[in-house]
Symmetry: C2
Subunit: 167 residues, 2 copies
Amino acid sequence: MSISEAIENTRQAIEADPANAAVTLRVNGENVSPTEFAARAGRHRVTIDQPGPLGGDDKGAGPTEYALLALASCQAVITSFWAAKLGIELEGLEVSVEGDLDVRGFLGFDDSVRPGFSDIRVEIAPRGPETADRYQELAEAVDAHCPVLDLFTNGTQVSTRLAVPTA
Amino acid sequence: MSISEAIENTRQAIEADPANAAVTLRVNGENVSPTEFAARAGRHRVTIDQPGPLGGDDKGAGPTEYALLALASCQAVITSFWAAKLGIELEGLEVSVEGDLDVRGFLGFDDSVRPGFSDIRVEIAPRGPETADRYQELAEAVDAHCPVLDLFTNGTQVSTRLAVPTA
């Protein structure tokens, strides 16, 4: 199924029942070592770990790298969706993301330093026959509609709950 | 190397040269189909895709699922770090994360709907011999120091740049 068909099918499903617009995504996992986390998202398995200097075995990318990968891939797929919506031809797309972090924050060495990224930079490189203006129009539509960009730039409500510990 | 040794080594490296506290993480990738993104984070390869109803081949979890996995795994490893720092024994840890999303936002069906998550819920289940109060103390330290929780709950500066399109 093409992206245009998927968008149209989704539109019709929501028109038939607006409740179809609301989705709840669920992921879970457990520590298999102090640094290695074995995660599941549906049928997919993902290994997250820390590099050696942070006490890990580097069996997978780290949590903050996965956060940047989520942003890069979200920019990419939302570019495909909006290229289809706007009738802009797109033959290929590369995305690079970098983020600055001060490790004194999460390690508790300096509580005036935020634990997360201080700055994140995204570069999008489209390939195709359209004018630079059309790709600029596309990039603006993407930035207005990218879920992970919204998650990172605008505060999102997150609640954490501690389950009863088991011995 | 244990986590306690890694924290102490990092502390000493920063004491020797404060510039060692600043890291820049880099990831990149490209579309191999309109929905599939082949990503790299250091030596690690990650496949991100969309499920069938959104036009993909479900070759990997989706971008918003990776965002939730980043949060789950970050909570897990920061729990290990802070258990070591606070001398709290931790034998195991499970983390579940769920997030609510309204697809009308990112698909542009209703621009009053935000593209990202409206609500995210995390549950942490520790296993070990300590009292519930000690695990509560640990959970509070984690929430104050988790980079991805900070990224999601507090706005972070993200800039996007469009490279010159190539034909």
